[in-house]
């Protein structure tokens, strides 16, 4: 399975299992979504359960709030994360708050799926990475898989979560990675990072499409005699401080890799956590390998912006030599 198949499979399983699960969004029905993630599901589960919505993202999120309050488990798709912003008010004012506001009376078992990130030679607004913004909003969970297996397991967990989940899909690797993935249902827990590569000298924290780059960087670093530990964050919020802290306590050095803008981003949070959880173990300043504080350039300029294995290696070497 590639990631597209895995997500489709998770949706299929949960729709089959639970009639309260419904899926809607722009073009998710007949067409199966612009990335074909929901392909075939309308045929199988019917137009009442998976359907095209009018072109209105606030409408998507706002109606989901009502459906969830009434007991459904809506899964909505934002066609691109860069087009989720018209829904911002509904998400920050209601999706994330209704449960608290009603003192637990009204659940918000909502999943908001959105492809995100750069590297696909797309038009403006199609390459955004705004996970830090969602992470900063109390009441949301924010999840990002880096491979088909996790994509499936995390989506199952997200759909089963009683609380709202922003489920961000690294579209750049939608079809880039194939894995054997169990056909039957399994869950990957939200809130747990995973050490996907053991190492001794330095910790790399990454997620989504950056995992691939981190892995390549680790391979390059190995040739330089540097042993890299890689943590796949998997959940942006609630963030897994323990796994990060433990790794730093071993390696003494940490770099966060993210394609989002640097200022006020995920990498800053991880620097702060490094300080709070493992200050005395730090042998070099926690480093941020992040996007520039600029707009993602159009395709011809995107290579300047994207984080590469070499850029990571460069910072690994600088940090180890510090």
């Amino acid at each position: 399975m590639n990631m597209v198949n895995a997500i489709n499979n998770a949706l299929d399983i949960k729709m089959a299992e639970d009639k309260s699960v419904i899926v809607y969004g722009e073009d998710v029905g007949v067409e199966g979504g612009v990335f074909r993630v929901t392909e075939g599901l309308q045929k199988k589960h019917g137009v009442e359960r998976i359907f095209d919505s009018p072109l209105a993202e606030s409408g998507l999120a706002g109606t989901a709030v009502g459906m969830a309050a009434a007991g459904l488990r809506p899964i909505i798709e934002m066609q691109f994360s860069g087009f989720s912003y018209p829904a911002f008010n509904q998400i920050i004012s209601h999706v994330s708050r209704m449960h608290n506001r009603s003192r637990g009376k009204y659940k918000q078992a909502i999943v908001i799926r959105m492809p995100y990130g750069g590297g696909i030679n797309a038009l403006e607004h199609h390459s955004e990475s705004a996970e830090a913004i969602w992470g900063h909003i109390p009441g949301l969970k924010v999840v990002i898989p880096s491979n088909p297996h996790d994509a499936k397991g995390l989506l199952i967990s997200s759909i089963e979560s009683e609380d709202p989940v922003i489920y961000m899909e690294p579209k750049r690797i939608y079809r880039a990675i194939k894995q054997e993935v169990e056909e039957s249902k399994f869950a990957v827990p939200i809130g747990k990072a995973k050490v996907i590569h053991k190492g001794e000298d330095i910790t790399l924290v990454a997620y989504g499409a950056m995992i691939r780059e981190a892995q390549k960087a680790a391979a390059l670093a190995k040739k330089e005699g540097i042993s890299v530990e890689i943590i796949d964050l998997r959940t942006i919020y609630p963030i897994d401080r323990e796994t990060i802290a433990e790794s730093i306590k071993k390696t003494g050095r940490i770099i966060t890799v993210t394609e989002a803008p640097k200022a006020f981003g995920v990498s800053a949070e991880i620097s702060a956590i490094a300080n709070e959880e493992a200050f005395l173990f730090l042998e070099a300043p926690p480093k941020r390998v992040a996007g520039f504080d600029t707009i993602v350039p159009l395709p011809k300029g995107e290579h300047h912006y994207l984080q590469t294995a070499e850029k990571i290696l460069y910072e690994i070497i600088r940090t180890v030599k510090y």
Binding site: G66, A69, N89, K105, G139, R241
Partner: protein, 362 residues
Amino acid sequence: MFKEYNPIKKKRLQIIDNDGKVINQKLMPKLDDKQLIKAYKDMLFARTADLMIVNYQRQGRIYTYPPNYGQEAISGAVAQIMRDDDWLVPAFREMGAYLAKGASLKELFIYFMGYEDGSLFKNAKNFLPISVPISSQLLHASGIGYEINYNNKDQIVYTFVGDGGTSEGDFHEALNFAGVWKAPVIFIVQNNQYGISTPFKMQTASDGIAIKALAYGIEGIQVDGNDFFAMYKAVEESAKHASGGNGPVLIEAVTYRKGAHTTSDDPTKYRTKEEEEKWDETDPLKRLKAYLIANKLWSEKEEEKIVPQYKKEIDRQFIEAENYGEYALEDVFKFMYTEMPQDIKNQMMEHEKFLKWKEARS
């Protein structure tokens, strides 16, 4: 009726005049005496409470409050028709509807005293909390409407918004979604002529709000919102329409906010005494009362007797609310998620440590 009052005809549904005389017998809703008296009492109770809350606020015993004064017929009509199972998706200026849904004044007081607990509405089924971001609640109503259709339920959603709220994008999206989905939602716009200080003519160039229904292919009707009978009739027909699988209705209830926008507002800054007096003539309680008295269903004496009883009851609930007690630290954290994430637990524990330190120091 929706044909007769199609908004392009620029007609406003009215059944009694300012003196409570029936001017539209044909559309007079069938209500028996008991029902009529109950309706009036509901409105009277709501108004009594409303005026008292404004006083409580002046005494510093409650925080900011948005008075309903002058708009009671709208909620009053909904209150008589809305069923237990129906949904109520409120804005913040329709107290009569909340009470009808099963909310207690005490809970509302607790809410306006600054506790989230006041949104729990223990005995109210299918009642969302008050929604502050203007118009955003309308989409929730459309979503619930989808659920009702999806599960073939016999329910209707009542939702409220102000004239100012019709300018928000969410108003448009909510009515559009509901239209496409044929969702059983009654959108009630309380056109009270102002959004805070902004007069209606600065909200939109359209001729009223009911006409906006045409943009969504749904029924719309403009109603004299200070005429209880007209409101009753409109809501009754809308409920039939929506229940029958015919989709949503937009009701424009033309009314006037006799009080301030909220207790922090001073309307003398932006409107004239003359205007206020003109609208006073249309006061909804005055009109229904005149009708009832003319029909020997009510008297000044009864009113003089009952209002003090109401006041006592309201005050009792208010004092109960005032004794609601401490806001526990845990209440800040407890409902953020169904289960508290470790991080949030830690933040709470760290804060408790600080509180201990603080206590030890003092």
